[in-house]
Amino acid sequence: MIGHGGGGRLSQQLISNLFLKYFGNPILNSLEDAAIVMLPQHKIAFTTDSYVVTPRFFPGGNIGKLAVCGTVNDLAMRGALPLYLSVGFIIEEGLPITELEDIVRSMAETASTAGVQIVTGDTKVVGKGAADGIYINTAGIGIVDETLNISVANAQPGDKVIISGTIGDHGMTILSLREGLSFKADLRSDCAPLNRLVKELHRFSYDIHVLRDPTRGGVASSLNEIAGSSNVGMIIDETSLPFKPQVKASCELLGLDPLHLANEGKFIAIVAESVADNVLEVLHSHEYGRDAVIIGKATDSTRRVALRTYIGSTRIIDIASGELLPRIC
């Protein structure tokens, strides 16, 4: 169990027995007040995010893996090659040390898979009840590939909209485990670091216009953000949207729109029409892009995202409001 320490011996023990054991590298091992890192170029991408997911462990990942993937993916979405992460833990007194070790080990494995180093960090233990188990903040630095110009504001009319795989897996997995909403289905979070897959797309250079990972708020929010920032409209083909059958079925059961569910291992790519098929081919050759499909295209500047249903009508895809709650009948 983690006790409430004042920054003394306990913190020292955590650092040497746990964090250095798993995260260890020459920069972190020096335990300086700040890490000094080498950057080969001037243009860097820099991002931060905090993770508070409950439950902390879920099929396909845990809060630690999520914290590494989330920040790595945010960097990748700007065309950056992620290099260094910082990690901040806020731990509630009483968290089992074995649980913390599982989280830390998973973070180290994910960082290694993604090819990033954790070079600085911080830990605070707070009193029982002052936090819910563990919160993790990660920040990341990446080098921007200057042969790219990727931005949420770059979608052009005529561009193709691609999703890298099935929609809603993470959100439905977490929802299915929530207290008071327990139901059993063969669900698994898609939580994964996407930087290596995205790097494969760098060869398309300026033809990659937008990359966005549809995390909280889901695909619906991301598409609306892109349409708003780029001043384009979008038309999405309902029949092309990829869903795992169990996610679709769970959504039907709960009355939820899978386009509102979070994803943690998927991205939306808006690309020039001329390269769309080649982009798909590259995505299909990678394990995290095997189910990639074109789901629609960008249109003139209506800034509205429309869905063409399978019966031929259209409706708008709106962003989700409020909590995602089940319906009752």
Binding site: S182, I311, C329
Partner: protein, 353 residues
């Protein structure tokens, strides 16, 4: 035949009818499906679809929401309910607002979870706020029987269930609504059976079609209702793969064992005799309304909210001056904008291009 082709065929048949007809759906899941698939767009202008009192959250009267809120304020009590009820505004606040104030209000998906919470918290009163039509009432009855079997002493139910047939009767009694037929609910009918609607055709001369939830089901029923306009009103079961004439006997027997008909307040329709379900005296220890004494202020209706008219099908959501302006899913004023199955929420969320 491929599903899309079948849909096109149904639409072209419906388009052959040039006369104006209005059909009403009385099930929140139909409201959702019609909006979600954009069915109004593919129908000709002469066919109007109206939403009736089919969303269990929407038809819950302010007083009943105030009741739940009053329970939630009892110190130490755990109030459990279905998700959609949480954000519905009562006279002064909502359960979501009370939860933010620190009341212990938990969203559950099934009454069995409320029983589990009661088992895990033996020193606290656990109250299940039960709303919904005949689809959810059997599970509430089952939950009470389970609580009795398990000897739970800290579990009770605020039973606010409603039943549909008498509400349809009351709706039609309010005057000529210009409805030419009903799309009858698939889920409710699966419990009560197709027989329960015979009075619609006999007493009111209005036919109906028990309908599933896919575009084919809904369009197929619309075509049946159009044909009834010349052939005469009957109750047709277009959802035979699920709905039997006599319904689900096991569910009905469970309901009859624990619950009994009572008067019920409906938003927009007022008090309707024998349109609600109360807990029978034999099971009164599980009846939260008898177990606790609560005092309620007179409910306050929201000024300018058109939910009552919308639930009777005499006003469309867009005709409400607050729709999409003062009243949005982020900031709902009336329940029809809160529930995912509410007519206003469905119209807002899936508004056409």
């Amino acid at each position: 035949m491929h599903e899309v082709e079948l849909v096109q065929l149904l639409i072209s048949e419906i388009k052959k009818c040039g006369q104006p007809f209005a059909f009403m759906e009385v099930c929140g899941t139909h409201t959702m499906a019609i909006s979600r698939y954009g069915l109004r767009q593919v129908l000709p202008d002469n066919i109007k679809l109206l939403s009736g009192p089919g969303c269990p959250v929407c038809v819950t009267a302010n007083r009943d929401i105030d009741t739940a809120i009053t329970f939630a304020k009892i110190p130490g009590l755990i109030l459990t309910t279905f998700g959609d009820m949480i954000r519905v505004p009562g006279s002064k606040s909502s359960l979501a607002g009370e939860r933010a104030e620190g009341r212990d209000i938990r969203v559950i998906y099934s009454v069995l979870e409320a029983l589990e919470i009661a088992k895990q918290n033996p020193s606290r009163e656990v109250v299940f706020y039960a709303v919904g039509f005949e689809t959810t009432a059997p599970s509430t009855a089952f939950g009470i029987m389970e609580a009795s079997k398990a000897g739970l002493k800290n579990f009770s139910v605020i039973c606010m269930h409603k039943t549909l047939p008498n509400a349809l009767r009351a709706l039609l009694d309010t005057g000529d609504l210009g409805i030419n037929g009903f799309l009858l609910p698939g889920h409710v009918s699966a419990i009560i059976g197709a027989k329960g609607y015979a009075f619609l055709a006999k007493a009111y001369g209005i036919g109906g079609a028990i309908t599933g939830f896919e575009p084919i089901d809904i369009l197929g029923s619309i075509l049946k209702l159009i044909r009834q306009q010349t052939a005469g009103p009957v109750i047709e079961n277009e959802y035979r793969r699920v709905v039997k004439d006599n319904g689900n006997q096991a569910a009905l027997m469970g309901m009859q064992q624990v619950l009994t008909a009572c008067n019920s307040d409906w938003r927009g329709l007022g008090t309707i005799p024998c349109s609600g379900l109360a807990i029978k005296a034999d099971w009164q220890e599980y009846d939260a309304l008898r177990r606790f004494e609560i005092e309620l202020d007179e409910p306050v209706e929201h000024k300018g909210c058109s939910c009552g008219d919308i639930l009777r099908g005499i006003k469309l959501p867009a005709a409400c001056p607050m729709f999409g302006v003062a009243c949005t899913p982020e900031n709902p004023i009336g329940p029809c904008m809160v529930s995912s199955e509410g007519s206003c929420a469905a119209h807002y969320r899936y508004r056409e291009q």
